[in-house]
Amino acid sequence: MAWCRFLTFHDRRVLAGMVALCAVIGTGAGEGVSWAQACCASAGLIAPTRLRSYEDFAVGMAARGRSVFGAFDANGGYAGERDGDSEWNLEQDLFGVARLFERSQVAVLIPFLQTRRTLNGVAASGGGVGDVAVSARYDFIGLGEHRLVPGLAILAAAVLPTGTPPEGASDPWAAGATGQGSWQGTVGAAVEQAWEPYFVTVNGLVTWRSTRTVAAVKETFAPRLTAVLAVGRVLPRLSTVGLYASFMNQGTNSADGAALPRSGASSFTGGLAATLSPNDRWRLQGTLFTEVPVASWGKNETAGLGLSVSLLRVWP
């Protein structure tokens, strides 16, 4: 789900966790400090590859780490990792975002992924270039254009199968897998509203994944639905803090036209996010996220705790 790195920062396997409510949103500013408006600073709280309204171009790099602590089965049952087993996912991204015309922006992200799995006392590591993603956004109504009308945007993304699928990895635990082996397209909509200094963003996304044929079996994937809610507050000097929740659900896949029972997947991710802007040329963005490790809050997905940090050079 590389598009999520653009649009939701949802975990690739994947990727749900306890939404850690944090009072930091209510933190006030010190005296004599200039405040930005939510309409200007709210963009990019959870997705670093998004320009703010006054920005035209940005390049950046991101680092992300995640430790898996459990998994959901096909019925929603949750079990923690066995003693001695572990999985670490690391990722570094290079990305660029450019504004095209006034209301649209396009981003390209190149991920580099590493995984380390230890099972039965045997460790395996691997990694490489992942699935390159391209995303676009068009703001029909910008946040703050109208006092009562929320901002409205359409979103689109494509993921190219440039990574190594699990079948192509050389280690027994497929730690060298960096891609899903198929194309992926996403469309969605985003609605934003601000009540200074607070803001709310809701994203709804539908993702389709192209078929895969492996060992003469044609695999067809059900559409994946994702909803993301982010609530934040603007702080001095264009910085922001907030929390977000993301829910993903995918229906039953099929093989050679026959439904694959118990192949659906879902997850619920919660996280904290913040941006820090020392000036209008640099921005630091970070998230702390987890999948909710509660039975029935996920299916056929792993659960873990992760941290991401992004650094952007911005040209207003």
Partner: protein, 139 residues
């Protein structure tokens, strides 16, 4: 291909075949499951795993193939592909299949590196319609 859900639940230290199957002693326990292929051969394929029930990591799978009359079927070229249907991918290693005689086929090692539902897409060369798909719940 016919799919059949086999073992569920968590493995435990006392599970049979915790260290693998003994080639000299076929299992006496009941199989995790049995499925009959839908092709013209109508084979009955019984499945055991070591450990049983299966769990994340490396496991062994033992297949017993019988014909419609119950006689063991030898001489088959069996191919097994571990597959995660929820994620649409397989494993990184081919699961080697070694005939054991008297209708027994040992599939080992099988690397199940993630929790979740794993299919063992099993086909028999020359009998394209007689494949079976045992399904394993791996906690």
């Amino acid at each position: 291909m016919l799919a059949l859900l086999l073992g569920q639940g968590c493995g435990d230290a006392a599970a049979p075949y915790a260290t693998g199957f003994d080639p000299a002693a076929p299992p006496t326990e009941a199989p995790l499951g049995t499925v009959t292929s839908s092709g013209t051969a109508s084979w009955t394929v019984s499945v055991w795993t070591a450990p049983a029930p299966p769990r994340k990591g490396v496991i062994q799978v033992l297949l017993r193939v019988n014909d419609a009359g119950g006689a063991p079927v030898d001489g088959l070229q069996v191919h097994v592909i571990p597959w995660m249907p929820a994620h649409g991918h397989g494993g990184s290693r081919v699961a080697p299949v070694t005939p054991q005689g008297d209708g027994w086929y040992l599939v080992a090692p099988v690397y199940l590196y993630m929790s979740g539902v794993w299919e063992l897409r099993t086909s028999f060369e020359g009998f394209s319609e007689d494949g079976v798909v045992p399904v394993l719940d791996v906690p």
